[in-house]
């Protein structure tokens, strides 16, 4: 009797086993990267990057290309070329060509956001030159997607690229009073890629571009905590390279005049390189001052540029929102260009390495 009961209890489980579609990892093609290029008005090319694992543990990159007017139909078009079903769960990087990005990309990102199998940590980037060409390069045996992903992630963690991923993009995009930005990749040669700068958006269209030399200053402005490297020229043709280990920024609205905003930037750094005789305490002071001036200059220029373009990647609008009851975004936007924004940097050199 008991056995019968146990059987009756287990029977539905056996029936359930065949209920859903199975996806066996050897029998699917996992998309690891995607790229979008504009060819003419309302037509674009979608490129999907798939990895094939070879017996010697290296990875072969395969791309599927199709042309369309709708994002979903690109994928279903690519399905028709693939011997195994294409699945989106493994996607790690999405590249938008520069011109493509000028026309707005949120409709394309919607699909990645809606798809539950796509994670929040994937990177979105723009590309100088064709996204398809970028994905088709030969960047070593670990596969292009891994190469590009690692390139971005170590530069974000230790270098000059601001924090960026799908979640942060969506966070800023849907945040009142903040605009989005994405790193830009540039294929220098068939097997070399560099991060060439940051693309600045207004709503979801690219409007401005920050060169890679200015990226560190940009990161100081947009990331709450950041680290990175930069060089300063000193008197007597000396040069120093400073590694900022910790930096913090905070905003302060002037109490009497709410159109005046000060951005305080605190940087704690160490000297990495110095081309001079001896690094005396006096020169350390000089470096501190030089770095401070440079940060103030460069950051002010960036802020002015954003005000002229009407884009707000720093999130000044958001800061005003948190400080104002009954915040009126439209009024703020009209007034954005007239805001008087000042930068105040405070630099401390903590260490100078193992030699003077």
């Amino acid at each position: 009797m008991k056995i019968v009961r146990v059987f009756l209890f287990c029977a539905p489980l056996l029936l359930l086993a065949g209920c859903v579609e199975s996806e066996i990892i050897d029998d699917v093609n996992i998309i690891v990267g995607a790229g979008f290029d504009k060819i003419e008005e309302d037509r674009f090319i979608g490129t999907y990057l798939v990895q094939d694992y070879l017996p010697d543990q290296s990875i072969k990159d395969i791309t599927y290309i199709s042309e369309s007017t709708l994002r979903r139909s690109v994928l279903s078009d690519a399905q028709k070329q693939s011997s195994e079903p294409l699945v989106t769960g493994g996607i790690r990087i999405v590249v938008f060509e520069e011109k493509f990005a000028e026309n707005g990309i949120i409709d394309f990102i919607d699909a990645f956001q809606r798809d539950a199998t796509v994670g929040s940590r994937i990177f979105l980037t723009t590309s100088r030159g064709s996204a398809q060409e970028l994905l088709k390069g030969e960047y070593g045996s670990r596969g292009n997607s891994n190469y590009l992903y690692n390139l971005l992630s170590h530069n974000i963690n230790d270098r000059d690229i601001p924090e960026s991923n799908l979640h942060l993009f969506l966070h800023d995009f849907y945040q009142e009073g903040k605009d989005v930005y994405l790193p830009q990749l540039h294929k220098k040669s068939p097997n070399q890629v560099e991060i060439s700068g940051m693309t600045i958006f207004k709503d979801d269209s690219a409007v401005d571009f920050i060169e890679k030399d200015d990226m560190f200053y940009f990161k100081l402005l947009v990331d709450k905590y950041s680290s990175g490297y930069f060089n300063v020229d000193l008197s007597k043709d000396n040069e120093a390279s400073v590694h900022s280990i910790r930096s913090k920024h905070h905003f302060k609205i002037n109490d009497s005049d709410r159109d005046k905003l000060t951005i305080h930037i605190n940087v704690k750094g160490i000297v990495k390189e110095f081309t001079g005789d001896k690094l005396t305490e006096q020169i350390v002071k000089e470096i501190e001052n030089a770095v401070q001036r440079k940060i103030e200059d460069e950051c002010s220029q960036l802020v002015q540029r954003f005000q002229e373009k009407g884009s707000d990647p720093i999130g000044i609008g958001k800061y005003y929102r948190t400080q104002t009851r009954g915040f009126d975004l439209k009024k703020f936007k009209d007034n954005y260009a007239n805001l008087d924004i000042r930068i105040e940097a405070d630099v401390t050199i903590e260490e100078t390495g193992v030699i003077d």
Binding site: P12, L15, E21, S120, H167, L168, H171, T324, R325
Partner: protein, 363 residues
């Protein structure tokens, strides 16, 4: 009114009330309450949660007052002031209420699996499998159900830790300025929390099964306090992690948070989290299945075993009738509304009625 007292060997220790109440409260609402809350009270929503928590403490006090006055469960209370016939009609409404509760929890959970993991999974088959497990548990008696409530709450607690992954990407200044919404908005937010909060009324049904019920009071209140704290923390983490516009796009914010979680051994955490949620909703279904069948037994003298099978069968069939997001949303909406009426309007009224009846009987 006469119901023989529950023998001691079938009763539970007072502290288990904590697990019964909290595991009944924490269920399917937790997965996505943030969006609905923010819809009314914006990012001041966490204040709404605290207000709702206070109100529930009050209702819990009323529940114990009712149970102590009549020294029994809700069926006894109904017969106490409304007589045999009317009392039965009032009590039988609660069978439907618990069935609705079960239906909402189970169907919404199945929807989550269907959107996040297996789009093709059949509603009927999963419901059947899950309900079979519940029948098995409830057939073991009330003490087994209380045991499941314990495990269903304790085992998944580690999930709270995974929320820590969000801190790197969070900006808690989004919560500023505090009190940027009117009192009305914030109270509406509390109202919107109903679906996430309900389940505590179970005390009124399990009361005869508690050993030394007076001692269980503090555990019941502690359960409500813990649930409130859990929801406040979860709301603040969510508000820091998502921007307001972004949150409006995410139906299940708690699950979307897991999309950022990554371990070296598992790339994405939602699958583990959703599978674990099985354990969280298991006590939800088991307790309400037990409660519904218990009322059925008390009212119509149906054998509890038969009652369980009957109710479970209806739930499985009803589950398959809801097919789209829109219809499930309506189901959730109505359960929230009905839950609000029963818990926050009917139960206080019941206390007043019972007190009046007592005065009248004394004279």
């Amino acid at each position: 009114m006469a119901s023989q007292p529950v023998p001691e060997r079938l009763q539970i220790s007072p502290f288990l009330v904590f697990y019964l109440v909290m595991s009944m409260q924490v269920g399917i609402g937790v997965l996505g309450f943030q969006r609905i809350l923010a819809n009314y009270a914006g990012y001041d929503g966490w204040i709404s949660i605290i207000i709702a928590g206070f109100v529930i403490h009050g209702v819990m006090w009323a529940i114990y007052k009712i149970a102590e006055t009549v020294d029994g469960d809700i069926v006894t209370a109904h017969e106490y002031f409304a007589g045999r016939f009317l009392g039965r009609i009032l009590s039988s409404v609660f069978i439907l209420y618990f069935m609705l509760y079960m239906l909402t929890v189970l169907r919404t959970y199945i929807e989550v699996i269907q959107t996040w993991i297996f789009p093709e999974m059949g509603t009927f088959w999963f419901a059947l499998g899950f309900i079979t497990l519940c029948i098995y548990i409830v057939a073991g008696g009330f003490r087994t159900v209380a045991g499941i409530a314990f495990f269903g709450l304790v085992l998944p607690t580690y999930l709270v830790l995974t929320l820590g992954f969000t801190f790197k990407f969070s900006d808690f200044t989004s919560l500023l300025p505090v009190w940027d919404h009117s009192i009305k908005d914030i109270v509406m937010g509390s109202y919107a929390m109903t679906l996430t909060y309900i389940g505590f009324e179970i005390v009124l049904f399990i009361y005869p099964f508690i050993k030394n019920p007076r001692q269980s009071k503090k555990w019941a209140h502690l359960a409500i306090l813990s649930t409130t704290l859990l929801y406040v923390v979860l709301a603040i983490i969510t508000f820091g992690y998502f921007s307001e516009g972004q949150l409006q796009k995410n139906i299940w914010a708690t699950l979307s948070i897991w999309q950022i979680t990554r371990f070296p051994f598992v790339e994405r955490f939602e699958y583990i989290g959703i599978a674990n949620w099985n354990l969280i909703i298991l006590p939800n279904i088991c307790i309400s299945l037990w409660a519904a069948s218990r009322i059925l037994k008390r009212l119509f003298h149906v054998q509890q075993r038969k009652g369980i099978l009957f109710i479970a069968g209806i739930i499985v069939i009803l589950c398959s009738l809801f097919q789209t997001r829109a219809s499930i949303n309506i189901l959730n909406d109505y359960t929230g509304k009905i839950g609000f009426f029963i818990n926050f309007i009917y139960l206080p009224m019941l206390l007043v009625a019972v007190k009046i009846a007592k005065k009248v009987k004394k004279q």
